[in-house]
Amino acid sequence: MTKLAIATALAIAFACSIAHADTAQSYQINIAHTGSIAFKRGFAPPLKRRWVRNLGGSISYPVIANGIAYVTVGNDYGYGSQIYALNIKTGETVWQRLIDSIYRWSNAAYDNGQIFVVDFDGVVEALSAESGALNWWSYPHDGQNTFSSPPTATNGQLFVGGSGTGGTLYAMAESDGTPEWTQTVENGDNSAPTIGDGGVYVTYPGQYYKFDPATGALIWRYNGGIEGGGGRTSPYFGRQLYARDGLSNIILDADTGRATGTFSTTPIPAFFKNASGKSDMLELTNNQLYCVDVHSGNVIWSFVGDHKLSTAPIVINGIVVEGSGSGELYLLDGTTGSVLWSTNVGAPIPAPDEQNIFQQPLTGLGAGDNTLVVPAGSQISAYVPQRNRHR
């Protein structure tokens, strides 16, 4: 390899790393689904609402890249959904596409300039993130007919889960949708593939898997002795997989698949390193938010808010963001749990429903491009710091 080629490769790698720094590319912001992001320009309250829109149907978690927030929106009257690309600064529609499928579920992921949308029927569309033009599309050829897992895209590969007759995890090329491998799983629903530690993970009731992303080879399988029903999305953090399946929450060693502990949460937890460099997990249980030391399991602080806390938490530059069913939006100090700022977004902020996905896309808070994006039913709001301060 010539020096020029090496320099070019390094420049591209650097550019990619820069491009990803403020990008929210999946459910719970990143491909590990940790719900954590660090804005380069800092993030400090008070916030101001930059824009608010009503898109006429239930709004998904946002995917944010290159100045655009992408959301899927369930149709209000009939079946089907739509994807909107919204200018992150103004909320204006940059482009919009119709997604035809039975029911109202579809969800999206971003990588390398493309938005990938999966609908309930299993139709995958790869769209130009800039223009919305269809680059390629595919549908399952193996008879699976129920798709309810948000997609995950990284490193040139797109991972999609489907079910119908048993379940299948699909890996396809981001560039053209070429199938790379498939793996049979039990049973394919409601689990966005998770990336971490050289593996792709999916978790269904009693059945957790780690596959080699490159080949699809099974690295390990945790068999809890049961199977059936829809799973949940499991975050990867600190060489551990926090496996959720709707029945239990088990911490697994990501290398071996051995159970190392349990945790307690309803929506997907978030993870971050606190001001002292220790790793913390944010769990929402019975509408109360707990910050737990990952290593000791000790509760560091808890927050009850208006007693209606609902959302899966996210963390921006060490500041915890949590929403409630009464529309309250809280920013909490990640170290102490004290309220730094709050507002009411004007509509109930629903809990993510990872199970009953027929009626709406999977929703959640999102952050990227120095902006906090808050879907609340059919309303979506964007918040930015009143003044950018580095923390």
């Binding site: 009257y77 009939g78 997604i99 035809d100 039975i102 609908d119 139709v123 033009a133 269809l134 549908y139």
Partner: protein, 392 residues
């Protein structure tokens, strides 16, 4: 020599009369206006809003999509709630006067119509096909019963280039000679509720899970896709070398390359979409989905503009495009005329009745011979455009 000249003159006159009695540019000859079912028409006299209500007729049954030719409008009217069967009407386009009415006996309330070459063709659910002269006389030219063998014919017919294409649930697609009703060919493809679509030298049959392109001259299969006939089909649309169809087996609406049958893109439309190409070559798809109207760029698939329904009302009709203006109706009976490029509202009206498309009669908006025809339940309303330069 004189006899030869007279014979030659007769031949020329015959050719001219056939040509003039064939499909004129302003005719609406099939469901969604034309054999491609693309819902688009260019009226030679222009189509400028505001529109004026020319006449209203109550036909006391569910009124079908209109077929418009020779200064007449033809509709099927189901005898809903009375007795099985329907009636076939010819109305004067300018006045709404009923010129003639034919009783169409048979099972259910369904019948449907197509027009070409001076004849209107009516098919009922039993597969009985009738040809009438499309004039003030309404004479029966021929009648024949297709061997549907207990099944039903529930696909609107299509007529083009001297042949009438009729689909039968149990015995497939028939091509009948328009002049005498003789069967030219039969292709044993079971079809329900999917009107044969014509375009790019092919005849398209789209049942859910199974779709074909046939040679319209001999019924030879040019391509087929799908493989499992699972359900009732839906009307497909041909536009610019592509076929737009719904396939529930594959999970929704798709765009096919009309030449090869290959699926080239997913799509979204609840009812038959309408298409339009402007003078600059820009191509638009108009689709009613989820009670809203969307204009989609055919090139990119992105939404160009949308008209969102109010919470108390729903856009429900399949849209049509008249001279680049989109016509669509809402459940409560509101009729909208929109700029096809921008979605700007140009004119609206409230018709008598409601646009309720689930009456057993295939209905839809229509336009032809300088008029807009709007069925709404049992009511048929005709509108005329403004005359440029004339003050209202």
């Amino acid at each position: 020599m004189r006899r030869s000249l007279n014979a030659l003159a007769g031949v020329i006159l015959g050719i001219l009369s056939v040509a003039s009695a064939g499909r004129a540019a302003d005719d609406a000859t099939a469901y969604q206006i034309n054999p491609a079912h693309d819902g688009s028409i260019a009226l030679s006299g222009g189509f400028t809003p505001p529109l004026t209500r020319a006449w209203v007729q109550n036909l006391h049954g569910s009124v079908s999509y209109p077929v418009i030719a020779n200064g007449l409008v033809f509709v099927n009217v189901g005898n809903n709630g009375v007795r099985y069967g329907s009636h076939f009407y010819a109305l004067r386009l300018n006045t709404g006067e009923i010129v003639w009415r034919k009783k169409i006996r048979g099972s259910y309330y369904w019948s449907a119509t197509a027009y070409e070459n001076g004849k209107v063709f009516v098919v009922n659910a039993d597969g009985v096909v009738r040809a009438f002269t499309a004039d003030d006389a309404g004479l029966v030219v021929w009648m024949r019963r297709l061997p549907c063998l207990g099944g039903t014919a529930t696909s609107a017919p299509t007529a083009l280039n001297g042949y009438l294409y009729v689909a039968c649930e149990t015995r497939g697609v028939y091509a009948l000679r328009e002049d005498n009703g003789h069967i030219r060919w039969n292709s044993p493809i079971t079809v329900q509720e999917s009107s044969p679509t014509l375009g790019d030298g092919g005849l398209y049959i789209t049942d859910s899970g199974l779709y074909f392109k046939l040679d319209p001259t001999n019924g030879t299969t040019l391509w087929l896709d799908g493989g499992v006939d699972t359900n009732v089909g839906e009307n497909s649309v041909y536009f610019d070398k592509h076929l737009y169809l719904r396939d529930e087996l594959k999970g929704g609406d798709f765009v096919l390359d009309a030449g090869t049958g290959a699926i080239v893109a997913p799509a979204a439309f609840l009812q038959s979409p309408a298409f339009y190409q402007d003078a600059d070559g820009n191509q638009y798809e108009y689709a009613v989905i989820d009670a809203n109207l969307y204009a989609v760029s055919v090139k990119t698939g992105t939404v160009l503009w949308s008209v969102l329904a109010k919470k108390t009302d729903y856009l429900v009709t399949a849209p049509i495009v008249v001279n680049g203006l989109v016509v669509v109706g809402s459940a409560s009976g509101k009729l909208y005329l929109l700029d096809g490029k921008t979605g700007a509202l140009l004119w609206k009206d409230k018709v008598h009745g409601r646009f309720d498309g689930d009456s057993g009669t295939l209905t839809g908006l229509g336009a032809g011979d300088g008029m807009l025809l709007v069925p709404s339940g049992a009511i048929l309303t005709a509108y005329t455009p403004s005359v440029p330069g004339r003050k209202r």
